[in-house]
């Protein structure tokens, strides 16, 4: 390629090519073309040169004083920076926001490349754990389909532009707007708690006093704000403390998964769930779908979404009308108002027991209500918590911003023509707006629309400017965590594609021609810590505080949550209990993986099985077996849903434990406007979502189309025959062993009676003695919620490939760690169990003896090691593995990796080629690393030095790893527990991973009869 953009050398008439000499037409075209051929080719990722530049810059910064320092020059290393060790991973605290809540994260950088995200162990909202979504978000950084350039749209034409073009345009345009006081200017963004954003917004309001601000968040908690406003006079968010709560009543709140503080909730819930140490808390869940919280509940009642409030009102009636607890002052209602609700709702016996429990545990209970429940439910829950003296003990409240105006108001304003310039700071409102709002047409009415987005999505396509948005690992930011503490977000890498953050864009619009995210966040920090104006440049004390903020990832002194008094707003429960068995109800929920669709282009999440359905690469219309039978539907039938006059096709999924008379669909699928991973995957639920009923409601019609739709599930791949169903039912009791608390206390050795009865197990040979380390793992099924965090952690740590819907449909998913989910009992109200299964590193491993080439062998420490370069791929080991945890590379999965994808591979773990078997290694790379570290420090390994990826991120600390030869290690203690059992022990395989049986703690009045209390399994 001729270097067409170089300036000619002086006046001496040197020519660079024959074409230039000839001044051919082609050469002149090339000179004029700003983007010569190949520059805009998206395939193949960044060029090697660009990557090396970025990497060198990042590495240079990484070398400075523990946290990355902003340096805008790109220079290669002439000398290695002090303290920087090539090949050594470095950790940086950072944060990402989701729905206005910041999550404290810890990002791992390898030679300047962010490769993994974990929770920030120092922050109380994480304690080292991170959700599946947060962990998977590192993959978005390396997505090839990210937007790579500024785009300008003129008369339907998309024109490539640069940030300089935009800055030139904005400088002029916004100066004009500022001259008019900001009249005609509007900003639209998702929910955010970022202090820097708030500061810049204040500055923007100063410059554009007449500008309007709107918020669009597809999954919002408006009702909770409204409920708290009625109950306590202003908008609050509840901050539960599950460590103190002994009786937890979860009304569709999904405290352990969907709640903003879910990670901490899960940890604290689990701490109150160890029968040996702390006694047991008790969890009641009323919910329409099957949530992870419902899975671990002691009493789970499937009720339609609109019936949850009936159950809550019935509970309140039971408590207040029983006379044991008076209605507190300022409740906004009298006890008598609830008379019509007493005994209503499903299972009055459970509600009576719950009322009993809550009253008996005053100050140690918690009533939580989910975001999609009406304001009255939130109001009532706040009153109940106050009446039961829980407020201030097991729950407190954090004031939140009053919500800005919403999308419908923006559209009304646009329709009147009063808005001429619209700035969309994030989100994709065209794709995620309710179906009755024609956002694209409305946006077209504004003369100038500016959209900052990470991909050229549906919204970008109808805006005049598309600006590439930086990934959170590329920018400086801040956020507020669920407990109100301020989090710092720092980049680990220069923006790969010259993208910028929302903060930088706002600063640009405010007249800063070269905004620097670092300075913006630093200035906010300065103000947060009591300063004013710009942050000082040469103040060592401030500098230390600022660096500590970045290093820790948060400001330590978070404002404590409040216990505001009741304000006496009227309780509006509506006319009375709605009839339970009315017509069919539609429930529109965020997806457990794609949330509102923003993760649609994330292959890890697309291939992550939904906890309840185990479906990947699709969303479904979930409905209970009885409802399906009434509608004559089977698993995989394609149905047409009609709601509020709109229709959408969806595959039916018969989900045991789903509420009757209801169908749940999830958002985020069926996108046509994202990258190639998520494009046209699943069906778009927004097409059914009305703006006046964002969570759905009654009035759903379901029609069979007569067609079926192929669903790929990682479990129960096909509809099961009666005999197989019966066998599964029989076996589950011995695989997932559980008992009720009373039974356990009476018979602590109950687990031993649940396995298969077998003669004494003997070996023909003298077994090997493990005298050094003896690694083992224990998984506590009592607290495993099946949240999938471990599965994503494993995928990220171990370079596990994604194989796609078709391959999963052929049972070829590659996850080393899977979460088995079993239903048991009545299909309408089953008990649900989750069981993470990975290689158990059997001491007498059946896989090892059958491998003809000795590619899988035992190490001296008892790991069942897989020697990839020795494996020829007979698959005999997988056949002989009773847990079926071995994964075979049927195709060359490395072929699917783009150059960008290769950047995020963990260099500590071999990437496996075609024809090779792979499986869990107990994170052998981490074991080795810890051993080397201990050796260098001349000290023995300590328990806890080695933490496999799954154990590191488990929110409930269900997974424990350590040395079985160390009697003091946590894993040895777990193994010594009476609840400990081995899976398939009768095969004499001596697995190193053992399980702790699950203990349920039902209300004594509701406990099952003794022979029902444990499933007496006959399986293995």
């Amino acid at each position: 390629m001729t270097t067409a953009n170089d300036a000619p050398l002086g006046g001496r008439g040197y020519w660079r090519s024959l074409e230039e000499l000839a001044q051919s037409e082609e050469f002149r075209r090339q000179l004029e073309n700003e983007f010569p051929g190949g520059v805009d080719t998206p395939i193949g990722g960044v060029s090697r040169r660009r990557f090396l530049q970025v990497m060198a810059a990042s590495a240079a910064m990484a070398g400075l004083a523990g946290c990355r320092w902003p340096q805008e020059k790109i220079v290669p290393f002439a000398r290695r920076p002090e303290g920087y060790e090539p090949g050594e991973t470095r950790l940086f605290a950072t944060t990402r926001e989701l729905g206005g809540i910041g999550f404290p994260l810890l990002a791992t950088s390898y030679d300047g490349r962010p490769i993994k995200i974990d929770g920030n162990p120092d922050h109380p909202q994480s304690l080292g754990a991170a959700s599946a979504l947060m962990q998977a978000s590192v993959l978005d950084l390396w997505n090839v389909d990210r937007s790579r350039s500024v785009l300008r749209r003129e008369r339907g034409q998309e024109i490539r532009a640069t940030w300089d073009d935009f800055a030139a345009f904005a400088g002029e345009h916004f100066a004009t707007l500022a001259g008019g006081g900001g009249r005609g200017l509007a900003f639209l963004s998702g929910a955010t708690g970022s202090p820097s954003r708030a500061r810049l917004r204040r500055e923007a309001q100063a410059r554009f006093p007449e500008a309007r601000w709107f918020e669009h968040e597809p999954v919002a908690a408006d009702a909770a704000r409204e409920g708290s406003r009625r109950a306590m006079g202003r908008a609050y968010r509840d901050v539960p403390d599950l460590e103190r709560a002994r009786i937890i009543a979860d009304f569709d709140a999904d405290l352990l998964q969907a709640h903003p503080a879910a990670i901490r909730n899960a940890r604290m819930f689990a701490r109150g769930r160890r029968p040996e140490r702390h006694g047991m808390n008790r969890l009641y869940v009323f919910e329409p779908g099957v949530s992870q919280t419902g899975t671990v509940a002691d009493h789970r009642l499937p009720v339609a979404r609109t019936q949850v409030v009936t159950a809550l009102a019935a509970l309140a009636a039971e408590i207040f009308l029983g006379g044991r607890v008076p209605v507190p002052a300022g409740a906004g209602f009298a006890a008598g108002d609830l008379a019509g609700w007493r005994g209503q709702g499903p299972r009055p016996d459970v509600i009576a027991a719950l009322a009993d429990d809550l009253v008996a545990h005053r100050g140690e209970g918690l009533v939580a209500v989910g975001a999609r429940q009406p304001a009255a439910a939130h109001h009532l829950a706040i009153v109940l918590n106050a009446a039961l003296a829980n407020t201030g003990r097991s729950v407190a409240y954090l004031p939140v911003e009053e919500p800005a105006a919403r999308l419908p108001e923006l559209l009304r304003e646009l329709a009147t023509g009063s808005i001429t310039t619209l700035v969309i700071l994030d989100g994709n409102p065209v794709a995620t707006a309710p179906a009755d709002l024609d956002v694209a047409a409305a946006f077209a009415r504004a003369g100038v629309t500016i959209h900052l987005a990470d991909q050229v999505d549906a919204t970008s396509r109808c805006c005049t400017w598309h600006l590439p948005r930086a990934h959170f690992l590329e920018t400086w930011s801040d956020a507020v965590a669920a407990d109100g503490s301020v989090l710092s977000g720092q980049p680990l890498i220069e923006p790969l594609f010259g993208s910028r953050s929302d903060l930088e864009l706002l600063a640009l619009l405010l007249g800063d021609p070269a905004p620097r995210g670092h300075d913006l966040v630093r200035a906010t920090f300065h103000q947060l810590t009591g300063g004013s104006g710009q942050a000082p440049q040469n103040n060592p004390r401030f500098e230390e505080r600022w660096r500590r903020f970045l290093h820790d990832g948060f400001l330590a002194d978070a404002p404590p949550p409040e216990t505001p008094p009741l304000a006496g707003g009227a309780l509006d429960l509506g006319p009375g209990p709605a009839p339970a068995a009315g017509d069919l109800e539609l429930i529109i929920a965020p997806d457990s993986r794609l949330h509102d669709g923003r993760f649609a282009d994330n292959a890890w999440l697309q291939e992550l099985p939904d906890f309840a359905t185990k479906v990947v690469w699709d969303n479904v219309a979930a409905l209970s077996p009885a409802t399906a039978a009434a509608l004559d539907l089977r698993h995989g039938d394609l149905v047409e849903l009609e709601f509020c006059g709109r229709r959408q096709l969806m595959p039916a999924y018969v989900l045991p434990g789903h509420a009757p008379h209801a169908v749940t669909i999830t958002l985020g699928y069926g996108r046509r406007d994202c990258g190639r991973v998520g494009r046209e995957v699943g069906h778009d639920a927004y097409a059914l979502r009305p703006s006046d009923a964002p969570h759905g409601g009654p009035g759903l019609a379901v029609r069979k189309t007569g067609r079926t739709y192929p669903l790929s599930c990682t479990q129960d791949h096909h509809a099961i025959d009666p005999r197989g169903y019966q066998e599964r039912e029989q076996r589950v009791g011995s695989l997932v062993r559980e008992a009720e608390l009373e039974h356990y206390l009476a018979d602590p050795e109950f687990v031993d009676h649940l396995g298969i009865h077998h003669p004494p197990l003997v070996s023909l040979w003298t077994e090997k003695e493990y005298t050094g380390h003896k690694w083992g793992m224990s998984i506590d099924l009592g607290v495993c919620t099946g949240c999938n965090a471990c599965a994503v952690a494993c995928q990220a740590e171990n370079n596990i490939p994604v194989v796609g819907k078709v391959e999963v449909g052929r049972s070829r998913e590659m996850h080393w760690l899977r979460i088995d989910r079993y239903f048991q009992g009545d299909p309408e109200q089953p008990t649900i169990a989750a069981q993470p299964v990975a290689c158990a590193h059997c001491e007498l491993a059946p896989c090892e003896s059958v491998c003809p080439v000795a590619a899988t062998v035992h190490t001296e420490e008892g790991l069942n090691a897989m020697v990839y370069n020795r494996c020829v791929g007979t698959r005999y080991c997988a056949n002989n593995c009773p847990f079926k945890v071995r994964r075979f590379n049927f195709f060359n999965n490395l072929d699917a990796l783009t150059e960008l994808d290769k950047m995020r591979l963990n260099p500590e773990v071999t990437a496996r080629s075609r024809g090779v078997m792979e499986k869990c290694t107990y994170c052998v790379q981490r074991i080795q690393k810890a051993k080397i570290k201990a050796k260098n420090a001349r000290r023995p390994l300590r328990d806890g030095d080695i933490v496999p990826a799954c154990a590191q991120t488990c929110p409930t600390e269900a997974i424990v790893f350590g040395d079985l030869n160390d009697p003091a290690s946590r894993v040895s203690q777990a193994r010594a527990d009476k609840r400990s059992y081995d899976l398939l022990a009768y095969l004499n395989i001596k697995p190193r991973t053992s399980y702790l049986a699950r203990i349920r703690n039902p209300h004594p009045a509701l406990a099952a009869s003794p022979d029902q209390a444990t499933g007496h399994g006959t399986g293995a």
Partner: protein, 491 residues
């Protein structure tokens, strides 16, 4: 096969202890035997049907090559196997073909040692078929591994890594068992063929025939010393081959029996597999021999008596297989192991019940028809039953391999296996390869062991009459027999 030819069959199946059954009919003489058998090979052009047949089978072989090429360049993923069912059609085909390869050695070695003279007419054909089946069988384990280019690591070759294979693995035992079996089978087949190759050499009228048959006849001149050494060698090879008949399929069954999978982990497998192998091998010999004797005019050599005997063996081994099926079920229940019980209940009534009942119908029910003498002697009936048995034995291996894997210990990983088009094409291609080799064999090599057949003819008897049993190579071969052969060489 029309009614006229059936009517023309001479029934020599009647058993009269006073008078040995005539094993060669139609008043054949030594000369006419040589003329007839060599004549097939010496015709300047094979019949048109041969060309049509080899075009079809050659085409299928090409399909096999294409499918294997695609497999090697793309990966095992083109087949239907998955994480739960790690072995599919490839292993099913392997066991199927190895099983078929059992009839040859059984007929050659065991029947030879047991002095069953009727074997002489069919042993050459059966041995050839054995070798071709073992070739097809050997193909599948080689191509079913993930990294085909490293399959040689299964052999204990000295190497720079200092790595030996894992001698505890049944797959390694397979390598030795099948390798030994293939070697001994080829040696046995070739050794027995040397006198006949010499006859072809001596009758050859073209230069290249003289050279090719001459090279393979390794200087056979029919001297007494040659005959003496030939007989000793043949006897020793028969002795070597006999245990192999039992060992090969026992070892193949260890692939399953040594694992811990319910449905695989059963001690009955070795005898059950051997019986099944003989069963399927005889069925395949019959499948090919019934039309071959018709088309190549071998009715005087492969008589109804021979076929009747084969059918009796099919009946016997079929019943053994049926008994094994019943025993498996009994033990599954009697063991009290719920996983084991379910594995068998699932076979018969689970998602693969269709395959199970095809297997039972073909393997257990259909050979029972051979209790009827009329069916044992009806060429169309026996041929149909042979086909049934071939199908049934393929399904037996499918049922064992796939149903056991598809539902093992943890119900969470249960999966259903479906073959892909490439599974089907590879199997069809292996049938094509097998038939191509058979067609080349009938065209270029003597398909009846002339030297051996002559020993059971009346003319071979010292007393010149059929009343005296002769020709079992134990010192009672007439001195005139060998020179008689020698005389034919220059007409």
């Amino acid at each position: 096969m029309n009614r006229a030819t059936i009517a023309a069959e001479i029934d020599n199946t009647a058993y009269d202890p006073a008078r040995p059954t005539e094993l060669v009919l139609g008043g054949e003489t030594f000369t006419s035997v040589t003329d007839k058998i060599c004549g097939i090979v010496e015709k300047p052009r094979p019949p048109r049907a041969w060309y049509i047949a080899i075009t079809v089978t050659g085409g299928l072989t090409a399909v096999l090559l294409a499918a294997v090429f695609h497999l090697i360049t793309t990966g095992i993923g083109i087949w239907g196997v998955n994480s739960t069912v790690g072995w599919g059609w490839a292993i099913v085909n392997f066991v199927f073909w190895v099983g078929i390869g059992h009839a040859g050695t059984l007929i050659s070695a065991i029947l030879f040692l047991l002095r069953q003279k009727w074997r002489t007419s069919i042993n050459r054909f059966a041995e050839a078929m054995t070798i071709f089946a073992v070739i097809c069988a050997g193909l599948f384990p080689a191509i079913h591994v993930g990294r085909i280019w490293l399959a040689y690591w299964l052999f204990p070759l000295p190497n720079y890594q200092g790595m030996w294979p894992n001698f505890r693995s049944p797959l390694l035992w397979d390598v030795f068992a099948v390798g030994t079996y293939a070697t001994v089978s080829v040696l046995f087949w070739y050794t027995g063929m040397v006198p006949d190759l010499a006859a072809l050499r001596d009758r050859a009228t073209t230069r290249w025939r003289q050279i090719v048959y001459g090279v393979f006849a390794i200087g056979w001149r029919g001297s007494h010393r040659h005959w003496h050494r030939f007989e000793k060698a043949y006897l020793i090879l028969a002795g070597l081959a006999t245990p192999l008949v039992l060992s090969v399929h026992s070892v193949v069954s260890f692939d399953f029996a040594v694992s811990n999978l319910p449905g695989w982990h059963t001690t009955i497998f070795p005898p059950y597999f051997v019986a099944g192998a003989v069963f399927s091998g005889f069925a395949m010999v019959g499948t090919l021999l019934v039309p071959a004797r018709q088309w190549f005019g071998l009715k005087n050599f492969v008589t109804l008596h021979h076929l009747d005997n084969m059918n009796k063996i099919v009946l016997a081994t079929g019943s053994m297989v049926g008994f094994a099926y019943a025993t498996e079920f009994f033990i599954a229940w009697y063991s009290g192991n719920p996983n084991e019980t379910f594995a068998f209940v699932n076979r018969a009534f689970g998602p693969y019940a269709w395959a199970y009942w095809i297997m039972v119908t073909c393997n257990v029910v259909s050979p029972q028809l051979f209790w009827f003498k009329r069916i044992r002697r009806s060429l169309p009936a026996m041929w149909i039953i042979y086909i049934f048995v071939n199908i049934g034995m393929w399904f037996e291996r499918f049922v064992i391999t796939v149903t056991s894997l598809s539902r093992d210990f943890l119900p969470s990983s249960w999966a259903y296996y479906r073959p892909t088009i490439f599974d089907v094409l590879t199997f069809a291609g292996s049938v094509g390869l097998f038939l191509t080799l058979v067609l080349l064999f009938v065209r270029y090599l003597p398909m009846v062991a002339m030297a051996e057949v002559k020993t059971v003819m009346p003319a071979a008897s010292v007393h010149g009459g059929p009343a005296h049993p002769v020709g079992d190579y134990h010192g009672d071969i007439p001195h005139g027999a060998a020179p008689a052969l020698g005389q034919e060489v220059r007409p």
